[in-house]
Amino acid sequence: MLGPLLAVLLFLAAIISAFGYLRLEEMDREQEAVKRDVEYAQQRVRLRLLERQEQLMRIARDISNKDVDPEEFMGRAEALVVQYAELQAVTWIDERRRIIASYAAPSVSGPQLRVAGDVLRSGETETMFGLARDLQQPVYSQPTAGTDAGGFLQLHIPLADQGRFGGVILAEYSIDGLLRFGAPAEVSAKYAVALLDGKGRVLAGTSVPARNAATHLLPWAAQNNEYEVPVSPVGNGLIMRAQAYRTSLGMIGSGLFWLVGALSVMTAWMLIGNWRHTRRRMQAQRALVAETNFRRAMENSMLTGMRALDMQGRITYVNAAFCQMTGWSEAELVGRTPPFPYWPDEDRELLAARLDDELHGRASTSGIQVRVKRKDGSVFDARLYVSPLIDAKGHQAGWMTSMTDITEPNRIREQLSASYERFTTVLEALDASVSVAPLGSEELLFANKLYRQWFGVQTGGHLQMVAQAGMPEHPRDESLDDVDSFVGLPTGALTAARSENAEIFVTELGKWLEVRSRYLNWVDGRLAQMVIATDITSRRHAEEQAAAQAERAQSASRLVTMGEMASSVAHELNQPLTAINNYCNGLVTRIQRKQINEEDLLAALEKTARQAQRAGQIIQRIRSFVKRSEPNRTLSDVAQMVDEAVELAEIELRRRNVRLTHYVAARLPQVMVDPILIEQVLVNLLKNAAESIDNARRPTARRSVELRVIPQQVDEQQVIEFSVLDTGQGLAPEVMERLYEAFFSTKAEGMGIGLNLCRSIVESHQGRMQAENIYNGAEVAGCRFSFWIPVSGATNNIAKKDAGATV
């Protein structure tokens, strides 16, 4: 993948290096050319200078030989100046610096013009003059740019006068002219040629302006293509320089480069594009493979057999499930034409007709049931569904058939109907009536035999039972009921709710029925109510009898209790009677003696009356305790009950000289009890406690009974606990075991029904009773009887029951 890209990059690098090499080569060549041309030009200038020097020296020799007078000198100078344009002036100066003769070109003017008879001015020229005199050799001046004499090059040629210095011939060249006429034209045309002084300043000619700073940074622009060479007779004072003009790269070379470069970039771009395309194709291919595998797995995991037929009825495809179902392999089935091998022989014609229907698109959408033969010859029931197979172009290419083995469902259906039958039989034989009716409808969804016997096939009986049982036909959610009985009903929660029980009397049947109802989702999804009613008439009678029996027993027990307390009661009654008697006798005495005033009389009579009332109250209390009354559970105040019981029991306790302290917790909730029965239990326990203390013959200080009534928590239930703690002799272990047995008593005169009855009374109030000895070290210090009665549970359950019974 990277290979082609690398190749392109290598190719590009090769092109660039080749181009670079060529370019360097060319630059080298150019450099060479500059050098050559400058050498050539310098040569020409030198030759020209040397020629002039030669001619001037000839003149100088002639002057030295006295062959030339100033006039002739002027003539020859004129000839030179005229002939050679660069030569500006020729001057003859004697040894005393006096100008003998001078000829200047017409263009010379001003201070440069030398006049015969003038003395040479001190300055540069004078210095050169001195140098030429001393050296006895021709001397060139070192022109300097920017000075007056800058534009001129002077040549001092010394004259010899019989071996002595006889002055000089001063020739002055225009440097500009020297360049113009000395340098060959072809060189000047190609380069910027200039003459420079010793310090590199331009004396004449042109120079290429410096490039801007930016281009200087470029590596190939660093070296300017130029060449300098000193003009030889003058020496280092005069330098010739040529600068090549910048030439653009050859269009052909760079064009080729750009073409190749563009092609390379395009090739790289194509490669990348190609590579990306390939990658996308690979991804698509992988996705396709995954999808295909997924489809394959789906087909294989399916329990439904799939078979494709082409338009001629030839099998083109079967899936794994189909092969597994029929037992034929894929190879054996694909390509087969009807009759297919899995057709049972006897159904062949029927199946051929079915296939014909299928091929002509007449198959029913609900599928067809057929029999299929496996390879091993066994036959099973299957259901076929057919749908057309459409190819990519939208034409029908055949038929797709799915096949389901329905042997198992058939068997289950049969089993279901059998079990339904059994279930119905059981329901019919049940000795309870079972009925189901939807809410808010007269329709009876289900009723068993007993229900039909009792109420017929109408819903009336069902509804009557529901109404009588006090169960709402609609769930008790009023806010929802107001709108619609079904909207928003959480049916799941309803059906999960506990079924409710009630006992009702159906006058039409003359029977007591125990009715249980619960909500259920009927098979069609409707919310329905099921009512199960059991005949409990006989049980009810037995219960009523038992209740009456218990009540009689309780009543009798109270009488017994009172009987046992008779002497105490008599004592208690004796007190007010004695007081009344005393008051009356005292009154009689006083009245007989006439010793009484009205005030005392009234006070005594009031006291007497109060004592009579007291006696009456005692009798009333005993009467209400003993009086046989219907069981009557009401919401009762605990403190009041305790007070009543304590007052009764105190009669006995006082007689036995036993002190009673009682504590009733504040703010106790009311309890749903029969107060007379609870009082009975309390009186019994207190009386027993006093007897126990009496029997133990405790000293006065230890003759006390404590009654405590406090709220408690038992098994996460709010209860009220009553406990009676005495200081008697406690209970022996064998007595503890038989404590609640009927007719078991430790007392000589006891009948043994007290505690047994107490326990049954407590338990009928959903309470519990227990007894324990209190130890002081190893010695028994007393005994604690306690019982509790639930607060909430008792209240709710009994309230409901009573409400049902009294309405």
């Binding site: 002497s567 004592h571 009677l577 005393n582 006798n585 009689v588 005495t589 004592q611």
Partner: protein
């Protein structure tokens, strides 16, 4: 409570306020001075034995019972005559009190004349008993002056033994016995042996009967 004694003082101890109050009403009608107490304890703390009085007490009371009160009074050698008020079923208990020296018991409700005559009887008895109580108290005071040796000697004199025998019994000389005798006679203010015997026996008599 008037300062002028009428026919005598009657203490009433009963924990039933009505019975107590009515009894007071009844007895005051008969001109007795009546003092009521609601418990045996409060009676014992305020009771003055020098007063001639009688006690009517309920046999059953919260706290200290009538029986216990009787025991306390016997301990104190109180001459107070006691009558118990009993309920219907308490007769065996009442009999027991009689054995311990109670005058009588009355059952509720009381018959007026029965009660009054009983109170009369008790007060009569109380007068004698208080006189006896006073003389016994003075005798006790005299006898308490004797040393233990003198008491031993007196005991033998009363038993009728001779000086010589007494000297033998106690292992002392006859002279010493005679000296003791003289001292005893002086301390008890007795001039003759007969006086001595009277004082000594008068002291011993209640001791043996109790």
């Amino acid at each position: 409570m008037s300062l002028i004694p009428k026919k005598g003082t009657v203490y009433v101890v009963d924990d039933d306020e009505a019975v107590r109050d009515s009894l007071q009403w009844l007895l005051e009608g008969k001109d007795y001075r009546v003092r009521c107490f609601d418990s045996a304890e409060s009676f014992l703390s305020r009771y003055d034995p020098r007063e001639v009085a009688c006690l009517i007490v309920d046999i059953r009371m919260g706290g200290m019972t009538g029986l216990e009160l009787q025991d306390r009074l016997i301990e104190r050698k109180s001459p107070l005559p006691i009558v118990f008020i009993t309920g219907h079923g308490d007769v065996p208990m009442a009999v027991n009190t009689m054995k311990k020296g109670a005058m009588d018991f009355i059952q509720k409700p009381f018959k007026e004349d029965e009660l009054v005559s009983l109170v009369e009887r008790m007060l009569e008895h109380a007068k004698g008993a208080f006189a006896e109580y006073q003389s016994a108290a003075s005798r006790d005071a005299l006898l308490s002056k004797l040393t233990s040796r003198e008491a031993q000697v007196l005991e033998r004199i009363v038993a009728g033994r001779l000086n010589k025998q007494i000297a033998d019994d106690l292992g002392i000389s006859i002279k010493t016995v005679e000296a003791h005798r003289a001292n005893i006679m002086e301390k008890l203010n007795a001039n003759t042996v007969a006086d001595l015997l009277k004082i000594a026996l008068g002291q011993n008599a209640p001791k043996t009967s109790a």
